[in-house]
Amino acid sequence: MSDSIAIELRDVVKRFGDVVAVDHVNLQIRDGEFFSMLGPSGCGKTSTLRMIAGFELPTAGSILIHGREMGITPPHMRPVNTVFQSYALFPHMTVAQNIAFGLEMRKTPKDEIARRVKEALELVRLSGLEERRPRQLSGGQQQRVALARALVNHPEVLLLDEPLGALDQKLRKEMQLELKSLQARVGITFVFVTHDQEEALTMSDRIAVMNKGKLLQVGTPTEIYERPNCRFVADFIGETNFIDGVVIGRDGNYTVLETPEGLRFRGLAVRPLSDGTQVTYSIRPEKVRLLAPNGELPPNGLAGTVMTVNYIGSDTRITVRINDRRTIDVWEQNTRSTLDRDEYWQPGEAAVIVCPPDNALVLSE
């Protein structure tokens, strides 16, 4: 992976009438990286992708592909290819004709087309299906044809618009891994739009999280999950416990907050926060520890009562009430194989929650 920039967005704005779909986005996507744009529907990720492809033009700002200003360059003149959400395969053409289309448009010699179509089909493991029509293929196969049709043109960047959305869960997981290894093999920059946070975490080198047209955070999957920079990102990626409070001071590396009912929590602040700031404390359920009470509370401990216990196979998910208006979710991994439910927590049982401050975040906004 080199450090050169494949795509740069400079202060890009897209308005549809009164609606701001993309709001002053600045972004650099590196050459050869698997870059995901993640956010809920309507967050502006697809609009951003469509502007890179040239289907939409920015209202303001500029888009550069390998340093070249795209301006009003139409889609067919841009060095990128797209895999559409609906695949958009040409139904009246065979698989081979679909894949050859881009090369034909670029006036590639016939024998080279034949060779590259064959290679592309091998790449996506569809050899032998050349003469099929798209409607004779399964969803997963159509997906591969769409990939081959784009990759055969050796684009500088491949844009993927929720390409796995239409597949069932199992196939989806398979394709995630396959796409990732495909990207590593061809070495082309992938820009992947998804609303599925797990998908983004699994596949990406870096992720950009968007909401309401704004770019909230760009980082590696670990950074996004472990160090979300705001409440929205912490909420959108994975599950978390949120507790609202006010900053009352610092304790070494940690920022201390107090809830309205007087509970105190300590955690890491993403940015310096002055006393009195309204903040949200966030701790992921798998990072909370649950102990049996033994008389005295450990540091960062809170007494509570187990309310619900849900066994989901890999984990047991426990909700603990710590006072009459607050509960905290705790996920414990089922490390022992036992059928005896008595060995797990029981509803109504007294318990102690420990929130390690190194695993907790204090978020503003």
Partner: protein
């Protein structure tokens, strides 16, 4: 004893026959039988009073192929139908695209606008065109005001063509709309994404995929246009003979009336249609492939 399956098959067959009988009887009586009569008449001759004389002959067909009056009527009608179809297609396609691409809540009202003329009788609408095109009509009034002066519009072949296009356009637009409405415009983006400019994307993707609509619309326009006689009589002034005018005259107004010759013309017209439409299907299905 028949098995349950056999009993069920027998019952299904009986029900099917029951459902199909009225339609079959209707078609037999009012479509197949007249067709047979026309076919038989076309090999007969007539007497001085215009009655059909049952003496088999090929004279009617020989007359049609040897007299320029008849040959020209065929050529003129075919040409007018081709022209009408092509112009309807050129006007109708962009119109259908426009409607199909309009916001959802506008599509039905726009289609209604296409259909509203059908609420008025076709003859009345053609008479209305007389008023528009007449020497002292609306268009000439406007032309005079802007200083161009009056032109002869009514009773020309141009007027016939205008009337035909006007009358047939909805039959082109509706099947085109149905085909274009089904067309997924994401495919045009996909084509652009793969390096096709607008013209290439249209020719390679949209045109072949909407071909069923083009074929349906063309056939719906071409067939009635080939046999029409009202428009050329009312707007063209019956100055030149189209197929329909000749056939109508032979059946109703010639002295003596000549049903056998008219029948032969009608039979030939059907043959011409059959051949032309088969050729058309051949060409367009190659396009699709």
């Amino acid at each position: 004893m028949a098995t349950i399956q056999q009993q069920q098959q027998r019952r299904d067959r009986f029900r099917l026959a029951l459902l199909l009988t009225p339609g079959l009887l209707w078609l037999l009586l009012f479509f197949a039988l007249p067709l047979v009569i026309i076919f038989v008449y076309s090999f007969m001759t007539n007497d001085a009073l215009g009655r059909v004389v049952y003496e088999p002959t090929l004279n009617n067909y020989i007359t049609i192929f040897t007299q320029s009056l008849y040959v020209n009527a065929y050529l003129r009608s075919i040409w007018a139908s081709v022209l009408t179809t092509v112009i309807c297609l050129l006007i109708g396609y962009p119109l259908a695209v426009f409607i199909a691409r309009s916001p959802q809540q506008w599509r039905m009202p726009l289609l209604m606008l296409i259909l509203i003329p059908f609420w008025t009788n076709f003859l009345v609408r053609i008479y209305a065109w007389q008023i528009i095109l007449a020497n002292n009509g609306i268009i000439n009034g406007l032309l005079e005001i802007i200083g161009v002066g009056r032109l002869t519009l009514l009773n020309t072949e141009g007027a016939t063509l205008i009337g035909l296009i006007y009358g047939e356009l909805p039959f082109m637009v509706l099947p085109l709309y149905a085909a274009i409405d089904r067309f997924d415009f994401t495919l045009m983006e996909a084509a652009a994404d793969l390096g096709a400019n607008k013209v290439q994307a249209f020719l390679r993707i949209m045109l072949p995929m909407t071909m069923p609509g083009i074929v349906a619309g063309s056939v719906l326009v071409f067939i009635p246009t080939l046999g029409q006689f009202v428009v050329s009589e009312l707007l063209g002034g019956a100055k030149v003979d189209y197929l329909g005018n000749l056939i109508q005259r032979l059946f109703l107004r010639a002295n003596p009336i000549n049903w056998p010759l008219g029948s032969a013309m009608a039979v030939l017209m059907m043959l011409v249609l059959l051949v032309l439409i088969m050729m058309y299907f051949r060409v367009t299905s190659e396009e699709e492939r």
